[in-house]
């Protein structure tokens, strides 16, 4: 019987037993609901039209409001709802207008096209409405100046809402192509969540086999590293299925609600992301498996996993630094530390900010670490699995497996 077929048997048990378990079904449903909620709720809240009511006293307010609206809505696609809608309420005197303002019936009061009254400054909504009106007023003045020179007012609006400067980047990225960064960031979050979530499954799965003592029967006919490899493969497949499903649902929901347009992603970015996702997952999975073998009670499992969780958090922060400064010292150092590389390299690659040699060297280093870790973890696993009572020290586990 070949090692692969044994590993596959172990993985298959993991998939069928765990995949059928209530816990798996519940986490799947909960994550799906959570993702749907995250996608749909903001689009319900934020997707619509901003609405303001402006009190008006005297003359000259109408053009300001109109051009404020026009300016803001100029960037809208024809099929979209308008970004902003402003209605006007006329007041006879300032006192009535101020009362309405205080009661929240109007958001601001314009006086004679030259003054704006709001409830207070510094409030979030207040400054938004003020800046909206300010821009409207500015463009009205511009219009006056421009129309004296014989130009049409709409031309002014066109100019004001356009980006006249052409943007180029040193790396040759296309202007306005932020999708790579977005993708890298999303991939990063996913890797981080996957490592902690599925790493914990591996951890508790190993501890469970030890605590219910089935491990002695298993090890009588399977090598420790095969058991570990099968477990990682099985949980990896289940986890990736759950993850891919969630991501697909999220993308479909985002498309349907129109909250997000799928960035135009190159094949190479996707390959990079997938490769590093797998590398990162394997690296941490092996360590979680070895950690799980050190304890015999489920209550102790989380404690032994703490160093790994901490490393993952550190990797996550280094990668955020890399997102801001992909050539910086933190990013480069993070590239050559195997435990942080899976977080850092995809970010730098997405931003086209990693030399090829660094990229390749980092992959080699991570692969070597995975191979080394598997041997170390296999031995720790073998040495610790039949030790009960308390927590096995790493050194004891290592020594008692000595062959």
């Amino acid at each position: 019987m070949t090692a692969t077929s044994i590993i596959w048997q172990v993985a298959r048990r993991e998939i069928t037993e765990r995949g059928r378990s209530k816990a798996y079904l519940i986490t799947t449903v909960v994550t799906l609901l959570l993702v749907l909620g995250l996608v749909i709720v903001p689009s319900l809240l934020g997707g619509g039209t901003e609405e303001y009511t402006i009190g008006s006293i005297g003359e000259g307010n109408q053009p300001i409001v109109e051009s404020a609206e026009l300016l803001r809505n100029a960037g809208d696609e024809p099929e979209d709802e308008e970004s902003v809608a402003i209605s006007i309420v006329e007041f006879g005197n300032l006192e009535d207008a101020e009362t309405a303002l205080a009661d929240g019936e109007v958001d601001a009061v314009l006086v004679d096209g030259s003054e704006v009254v709001v409830e207070s400054v510094g409030g979030f909504g207040d400054s938004a409405v003020v800046s909206l009106l300010q821009r409207g007023a500015a463009s009205v003045e511009l219009e006056v100046i421009v129309s004296e020179s014989g130009q049409a007012a709409t031309d002014v609006i066109d100019v004001m809402t356009s980006d006249p400067l052409e943007t180029t980047t040193l790396s040759g990225q296309e202007a306005g192509d932020e999708s790579a960064g977005v993708l890298a960031y999303a991939g990063l979050m996913l890797l981080y969540i996957a490592i902690l979530l599925y790493g914990t499954w591996i951890l508790t799965g190993v501890t469970e086999e030890k605590s219910n003592r089935v491990v002695e029967v298993l090890l009588s006919s399977v090598k420790p590293w095969q058991l570990l490899a099968g477990k990682i493969a099985g949980i990896g497949i289940l986890g990736i299925a759950q993850f891919t499903g969630t991501i697909l649902v999220a993308i479909v929901a985002l498309q349907l609600t129109g909250a997000f347009e799928l960035p135009n992603i190159g094949v190479s970015s996707v390959v990079t992301l997938v490769v590093w996702f797998v590398l990162g997952f394997l690296l941490y999975a092996v360590m979680f498996g070895a950690a799980g073998s050190l304890v015999s009670r489920m209550e102790d499992a989380q404690n032994v996993a703490f160093p790994m969780s901490l490393t993952a958090v550190a990797g996550f922060f280094v990668s955020i630094a890399a997102l801001n400064d992909p050539d910086g010292a933190a990013a480069v150092i993070g590239t050559f530390i195997p435990l942080t590389a899976p977080f850092v390299v995809p970010v730098r690659a997405a931003l086209d900010a990693i030399p090829l040699w660094q990229y390749l060297l980092s992959i080699v280093m991570v692969l070597a670490t995975i191979a080394g870790m598997t041997l170390v973890a296999g031995r720790i696993y073998a040495g610790a699995l039949l030790r009960y009572g308390g927590r096995t020290k790493l050194r004891e586990a290592w020594r008692s497996a000595a062959e």
């Binding site: 019987m1 219910n212 002695e216 029967v217």
Partner: protein, 295 residues
């Protein structure tokens, strides 16, 4: 055959195995005896590579045992363990497949054993829903699922009711009869005496007695006397040389005595001392041998 040669194993300063040597042949059943902490479990684990001995060898048909041999062995560990939430039938099939059986063979064999243990109607129950004794049966089935060449059972009779113990005994006998090498440890010496031709007794990590039960009894330097008499047996017993051990239970005296003690005339003297209710003079029981060996 299984041959264990000069095994040494220490845990810290505890010597668990100290030159342990014994063998089990195909078609034979060996009872592996020894007091608590003598090293039985450690020796059995070493067959499966679950502990790494510092010195010595474990071989099967003169070959070093690797994972390929182990897949043809069946093992019931002292600490029973199965996946509690996995269905009995699925569990057995899985363990069969890990030992290299095809899916259909494993499934068929699982059904056969569940049938044999009267658990056919519980085949889709999770193991945790079975009673302790029934879990024990599934555990035994797990060791037998792939029709092993060597069967190693660590205290298979502990926790079984007399009927279940009888079934267990029948199955072990059956296995030995069809050519499997069987070794099991036990503290129930009467069961071992009933079941096994061969015994090995381990004490402080090394084998102190090994052979067939009959040989050992005949060759033993002791005899077993049971005496129940009206009146005082003390002066009567005092007349015997070489008494090693006396236990009194009511009026029944059980005496272990040197085999070469001259017993001529003892029965006549006993009859004179009072009304004789019970008297036997026999080769020692396995318990006597055991006590002598480990004291």
């Amino acid at each position: 055959m299984l041959a264990i040669q000069d095994l040494h194993k220490t845990f810290g300063n505890v010597v668990a195995l100290d030159g342990c040597t014994f063998g089990v042949e195909r078609g034979r059943m060996l009872g592996f005896l020894g007091p608590n902490g003598a090293g039985k479990t450690t020796a059995m684990r070493s067959i499966f590579g679950l502990i790494h001995h510092e010195k010595g060898s474990v071989t099967w048909d003169d070959n070093e045992i690797t994972i390929n041999e182990r897949r043809r062995f069946g093992y019931m560990p002292e600490e029973r363990g199965l996946y509690p939430k996995m269905k009995a039938h699925d569990q057995l099939t899985y363990l069969g497949r890990l030992r290299g059986m095809s899916a259909s063979d494993a499934s068929k064999s699982a059904d056969n054993w569940l049938e044999r243990f009267d658990l056919a109607d519980r085949r889709t129950d999770p193991v945790e829903a079975l009673s302790h004794g029934n879990q024990q049966r599934v555990q035994l089935a797990a060791a037998l699922i792939h029709d092993p060449e060597l069967l190693v059972l660590d205290e298979p009779f502990s926790g079984l009711d007399p009927i279940a113990a009888e079934t267990m005994g029948d199955i072990l006998r059956e296995q030995a009869a069809k050519g499997t090498a069987v070794v099991f440890s036990s503290h129930q010496l009467d069961v071992v005496e009933d079941l096994c031709e061969d015994v090995a007794i381990i004490n402080r990590g090394s084998i102190v007695v090994e052979g067939t039960v009959k040989q050992l009894k005949d060759a033993a330097p002791i005899r077993h006397i049971e005496l129940d008499i009206d009146g005082d047996p003390e002066p009567l017993l005092a007349s015997l040389d070489g008494i090693r051990h006396t236990t009194v239970n009511g009026s029944m005296h059980t005496v272990i005595i040197d085999a070469d003690t001259d017993m001529r005339g003892f029965l006549a003297r006993a009859q004179n001392a009072g009304r004789l209710r019970h008297f036997t003079y026999t080769t020692p029981s396995l318990s006597d041998l055991f006590r002598e060996a480990v004291q």
